[in-house]
Symmetry: C2
Subunit: 225 residues, 2 copies
DNA sequence: CTTACAAATATTGTCGACAATTATTCTTGA
DNA sequence: TCAAGAATAATTGTCGACAATATTTGTAAG
């Protein structure tokens, strides 16, 4: 039997750990956007064979973090304003639906936890004013929990296991220190309220507006440059 | 230089062809839902090594057609009514957005082609009444073109390269010969009209209702059993 | 000096073999 | 006969090597 007895141990293979590590390095910009990955080099770095490295790489491709061309290899996706806007469109769509479902499916306990989270984020925000990044991570945490609360496994996979890594990548590398912090906080509160009231229709609308506002923010900034 | 000169030849590797063939076999139910795939057996069947087979398998996992457990292997995803409903929810969301964007971005020519397609499908439908499957394929073709018309590459990837294969898999194996054929056709016409009118808001609403109706159809059928 | 082509180098695609893990069969005891 | 454990077989994870393709370097002609 496995080491840990009944915690449904998620057996970790070598490829798994390399996959996770590479994902973090890509998201955090330690491996540059658009750069080509050298299989021999990476395999040597992790002290594994190219086979298990390629296993990890193919999974990163599945997440949308890498692109692959036959006989040429993998490269990190290139971040562009266009792609960022596309992601916002998809988030607006999917998270709106997730929010509607969350209003129907989230338990009282889950909703309370979400409220507490919001309070904590608000406090730390006012305390250490400069830490824009942690604030953004808190924002994503909020969105993450709502998607989980939708109970729709497909939504969870698409958003939490794929898109959100791209989102974090943009935040790390573009630095989304938006001037929407206070507004966004209030919007979060209103969304929770709608969920608590089991008003799925309103919850969806509020979430869509919330994300749409971020997108417009980026579009405006782009046009003024 | 490559054989074909400037048609941006998509170089086909062995893994590519096996990937495509396996995908079709899974979608069409030639490889059973929920069944475990034996790597040695498949490799022997295709006369390739396990390495290149695993390359193909990992890509199928990325498409959501296969699941993988460490030290146990790949198995075809199991189709369930719950998952089918989840897919409908996601389609409703994403295709609604795609339709809104299509109304903004599709060219006159693209729209005309779409109309012609609809006419053809309607004719063949009335001619060979029994062929429910081809009719369904035509439906998916319609949806496919609208997504392409959205111009959003992320949407295109998520829907055309992932979800639609799952949808086709359900149709093949559950046989969605719905009684909605005539209604669906009119709905398609109305959607095209909204797109032609550049009324994105209406186009989105119509598409969402169109897909929602299919979902409700499945839900009702499920409840009456 | 630049361009076009050829040789050499490096990288990816593919292969077969071994190690680690899982599944099956066989044995043994009650 | 059945159950539990050991031995065996089969499968997946990992490795290193070779073949096919792409990139770079080198060379020669214009």
């Amino acid at each position: 039997m496995q080491p840990n007895t009944f915690t449904s141990s998620p057996i970790l293979t070598r490829a798994d750990t390399v996959f996770t590590d590479l994902r973090q390095r890509i998201v955090e910009g330690d491996i540059f956007t658009g750069s080509k990955l050298s299989e021999p080099e990476l395999a040597k770095h992790y002290e594994i064979s190219r086979s298990t490295l390629r296993d990890a790489l193919s999974r990163l491709e599945g997440c949308g973090l890498l692109e692959r061309k036959a006989n040429i290899g993998y490269r990190v996706v290139t971040l562009s304003t266009e792609q960022l806007l596309e992601i916002f469109r998809v988030r607006e769509s999917l998270e709106g639906t997730a929010c509607r479902l969350a209003a129907k499916n989230m338990s009282k306990e889950q909703i309370d936890d979400l409220r507490k989270l919001l309070v904590i984020h608000n406090q730390t925000k006012s305390l250490q004013q400069g830490e824009a990044y942690m604030q953004e991570e808190g924002d994503l945490d909020f969105h993450f929990r709502i998607v989980m609360g939708s109970g729709n496994k497909l939504l969870i996979r698409l958003l939490c296991e794929e898109l959100y890594y791209l989102v974090r990548m943009y935040r790390f590398q573009f630095g989304m220190a938006s001037p929407r912090a206070k507004k966004a906080f209030r919007e979060h509160e209103n969304i929770i309220q709608a969920i608590e009231d089991k008003d799925g229709e309103l919850a969806e609308i509020l979430m869509r507006r919330h994300i749409s506002a971020s997108r417009l923010n980026v579009e405006n900034r782009m046009n003024t440059l």
